[in-house]
Subunit: 233 residues, 2 copies
Amino acid sequence: MNIAVFGTGMVGQSIAAKLEQTGHSVSFGTRDVLKTLNRTEKDRTGKSFTEWYEPFKSTIRVLSFADAASQAELIFNCTSGEGSLDALRDAGKENLKGKVLLDVANPLKFSKGSPPFLDPCNTDSLAESLQRSFSELRVVKTLNTMNALLMVNPTLVPGDHNVFLSGNDPAAKLSAVAVLKSFGWKESNIIDLGDITTARGTEQLLPIWLRLWGKLQTPMFNFQIVVAPPQMR
Amino acid sequence: MNIAVFGTGMVGQSIAAKLEQTGHSVSFGTRDVLKTLNRTEKDRTGKSFTEWYEPFKSTIRVLSFADAASQAELIFNCTSGEGSLDALRDAGKENLKGKVLLDVANPLKFSKGSPPFLDPCNTDSLAESLQRSFSELRVVKTLNTMNALLMVNPTLVPGDHNVFLSGNDPAAKLSAVAVLKSFGWKESNIIDLGDITTARGTEQLLPIWLRLWGKLQTPMFNFQIVVAPPQMR
């Protein structure tokens, strides 16, 4: 499948590499192609984009948001929450029409220092704001509740744990499930919460996720929803 | 121990009954004692307070917030989030001084219909607002992330799953841990997230909790934090 990955940070890199390894035709979408290709500052992994990109030069293209979107059947939004709407505007409505957007971003704001806060939050969500602004895009919120490495390799945390889906379009959710399964997610661990407004719930997992990261001293953890058996409900 | 339970709804009833069964001296704190004792409208359990209270008449007292607080060493806040600050004001600063408050309430507002939203939220929490308003009270947020029956009987959901603590006072947290263990919680399943600001994280679990309740068609579930073993971090 032709897939565009919007955003070239750690989440975008993790998703793009996995998609490439599983046989998809992958393009990054980015605001400034030349700037991205020359980005030498190191991120938290200790690698710059340039270093990370070296082994993928011949297989993953770096394109503008519009070029990446126009060729894609499915788009991953791995931009920062603050940059997501602008990225979609750059991509252009005509290039987004009818496409599935898997929205992995969280609307974290650091303007008041750390811990960050969510904006939008509570009575709205980033996923809803994207869906509202691009009504012909089929937005599915997913994977935003965990570390980037875990998104594409769920067995890094042993046993059962969950990934959530929120979205209005049943067929788009089926596409999301197919991608998640190709990443290694068991179908029984994928929880479809309901329509796009349920993304408020998963975006609001970020505050406790960040505190747990501090507490556990590792981002390699996930939420499991444990349910009582029928006779104990 | 002398324990006051503020709030006479399902959460207060569940907590008070368990405390009574485990040998504590328990008083309800309520705004209007006579009104509470004569409350015959049924709640979601199909029972009215009057019916529920019948077997506890000789062991659990129903008092004003002030009377219940003055005699208590520890207080459970099981009022509605909207009523919590007023309940503590009614109790009176002098009756709260130095005491441990286990805050189980969530600041859910239904004024825009269902699903409810949180107020405060994101850059503040109910637990913080209580701690700020009553600086000599030692607030520990806990148990607010699950169904009332599960709070006092964690084995209703089999296996491991978690309860969280947030608070500024280490000794108050030890009291909270002792109470949680008496309710049946394994110490290894109690996660101390840090200071009282971490209550933002657990209060913000409510939106996804409510959606999961709808999805799973039962409130008998809980969150388990699953962590990668050291060699996989």
